[in-house]
Amino acid sequence: MAKDKIQVLVCSGTGCRASKSDEIVKNISQAVIENDIDKDVQVIRTGCFGFCEKGPIVKMVPDNTFYVQVSPDDAEELVAEHLVKGRKVERLLYENPETKERISDSKHMDFYKKQIRIALRNCGFINPENIEEYIAKDGYMALGKVLTELTPEKTIGLLIKSGLRGRGGGGFPTGLKWELTRKVKAEQKYVVCNADEGDPGAFMDRSILEGDPHSVLEAMAINGYCTGADRGLIYIRAEYPLAIERLKIAINQAREYGLLGENIMGTGFNFDIEIRYGAGAFVCGEETALIHSMEGLRGEPGVKPPFPSEKGYKEKPTNVNNVETYANIPPIILKGADWFASIGTEKSKGTKVFALAGKVNNVGLIEVPMGITLREVIFDIGGGIKDGKKFKAVQTGGPSGGCLTEKHLDIPIDYDNLIAAGSMMGSGGMIVMDESDCMVSMAKFYLDFTVEESCGKCAPCRIGNKRLYELLDKITEGKGTEEDLFKLRNLANVVKDTSLCGLGQTSPNPVLSTMDNFPEEYEAHVKDSKCHAGQCTALMQYIIKEDACTGCTLCVRVCPVDAISGERKMAHFINQDICIKCGACMEKCKFDAIYIA
């Protein structure tokens, strides 16, 4: 570690890589050599900084200059100005959208001000492919402490006291879960890391694995020590090639450093980790399905009990935790249960990472203390709604969660409050919607997802979700009846009540929560055949303004179904029974005479 060198941190998370951050690294490195400063400068690819909206991001350390939306062409200037001449490149600094003031240090940006980073502590700060950088940030110290100073019982006690709950969605107390596995007597036990992040719109696990893989390995080793397992398995989506690559590098480095393998730190504790690949099945986020998948079977969930803590992988006691949960553990061990418990609300301690996305100005990955309000997240951190539109709803918990509205904006976010409001924490997807989003369509979107992802094992989920989708489709087509609304609710309740696993037990939530929070929208679709958000194509009407139409007949010629009629040089008319709402006429009209009603 060359501590005195200037570090150039280039975000190399998936989002920034998609915006050519690899090329930025290449160009900066080249410019550094050309300027003959390569002895004093180190260019590092890091994990995600979180502020994806403004990516790619380049950060200079130690002066913490935070450059946004950098392009590969900017590399030369950054090196020549910032590194050689010591002058900041103003035009690449973040601009406060209100004051138009340029901000150099990220801690002064609204996006970061209210964040507390525990799970994401190292993401964007270290080179994830270099174990020494992790070690320099107190990495593997928690494992050392546990192995040399603490017993499994004490460690678990500490976790229980910290109040840490599972970050994968369920919110089960992590310490208690470990205790259950620890208590079972068995020759062989396993610990598993659930990295099968499948919630569409959530990518925190991926960011942690890409940005700080060792934090997960360290926590798994601690888990192994506490539960009595000597083998760990990481079940990761095959769709995450970068995270897989970095995990492989991290595992090999940890083995080289004696932090995985036999006789870790000379304490006699053995623990090693293997990677298993998912293959594209959302239901494998459910722990019994995940275990079946690791065993080479179809990822169908089993009925619990027995829980994996008794009978898991290969019928052996198995403890499954999610990536973010693991990432929280080393700091808890090092800083103590009281420190962790001091953050958050009464029953939900610590922080939660959210993937903030949708119609919000600052899309990105954020970590906030439990108890923060939705308003703070959406308007302070998220910078409010895009394009000056009006906030309508926020969806948390992905396909298992619900849509919350204006009236929920000031409730403190924690596991229990979200459930009480008809949604859930889930894995941390947070999708913001504005007035142009139709809530019925939104529910349909999620149902489309669950229909595709249902494993098919139990009847209510297999067929019920399909029927829910079809009912919603009927409603968005303007063909729904009031009776359909009754059916929709009854079916949603039965699917929730009778499904075998968490997928089906929660898949009706998007329907029920939108029905509860936006009943008028469902009624408008059904009674008036209107979609006020203007999203349901079938309910749209293209109408010709009589006074603006010149009768040029251009629209008549483009209409693929001959729905438009009228005399030349006279106002035209669209026959709504024939119109297929393709929009071709509106596109062609030179006089803005066609509008959507």
């Binding site: 998936t14 915006s19 960011s207 769709e239 298993r276 690949y277 899309v363 969806q395 919607m433 979107f445």
Partner: protein
């Protein structure tokens, strides 16, 4: 089902892969991942080889292959196009982008163009929500794709063919 003949050296390689996993049926999914990267897809014949090597029934292998969306029995195009249908991309118009691809390529999701150049798929969240809506072509990620951009994306790769 059309029958195909597998190349001998590739079959030998596949058997080698199975051996590397100790011919353990618990490693089926890992083996299938390797097989798919070897053959590009998983035709029935490949699944039969895997079934024989791991000593499981062909029905079991097909049951697993057909369960997971990552595995495919249809050869992918030279340029596999995937449209992210994650929520963030959806609310920023991914569905319209997908429809445009369907229209211009004249194929459905899961299909490959007759000339084998493009195949079309939807996927759930690539984790680049800041760039929504996102389209990936092979390894390359295209961010903030508008319906109007679809034509030029297709042209870009079509021209690349020559």
């Amino acid at each position: 089902m059309a029958h195909i003949k597998l190349a001998q050296n590739k079959v030998a390689e596949l058997k080698e892969v199975c051996k590397k996993f100790n011919n353990d049926k618990g490693e089926l999914i890992n083996v299938l991942h390797a097989a798919q990267s070897l053959f590009g897809y998983l035709p029935a014949e490949v699944q039969e080889v895997v079934a024989n090597e791991l000593n499981v029934s062909i029905a079991h292998v097909h049951g697993v292959v057909s369960f997971y969306s990552f595995f495919t029995m249809i050869p992918k195009g030279k340029y596999p196009i995937s449209i992210c249908m994650g929520t963030a991309c959806y609310v920023r118009g991914a569905e319209k982008v997908l429809n445009e691809f369907k229209k211009l390529l004249d194929i459905k999701v899961g299909e490959t163009t007759p000339d084998g150049v493009f195949s079309l798929n939807s996927l759930r969240c690539v984790g680049a929500c800041g760039l929504a809506p996102v389209v990936t072509v092979g390894e390359k990620v295209h961010g903030r794709v508008a319906v109007e951009d679809v034509k030029s994306i297709i042209e870009e790769y079509k021209n690349d063919k020559e």
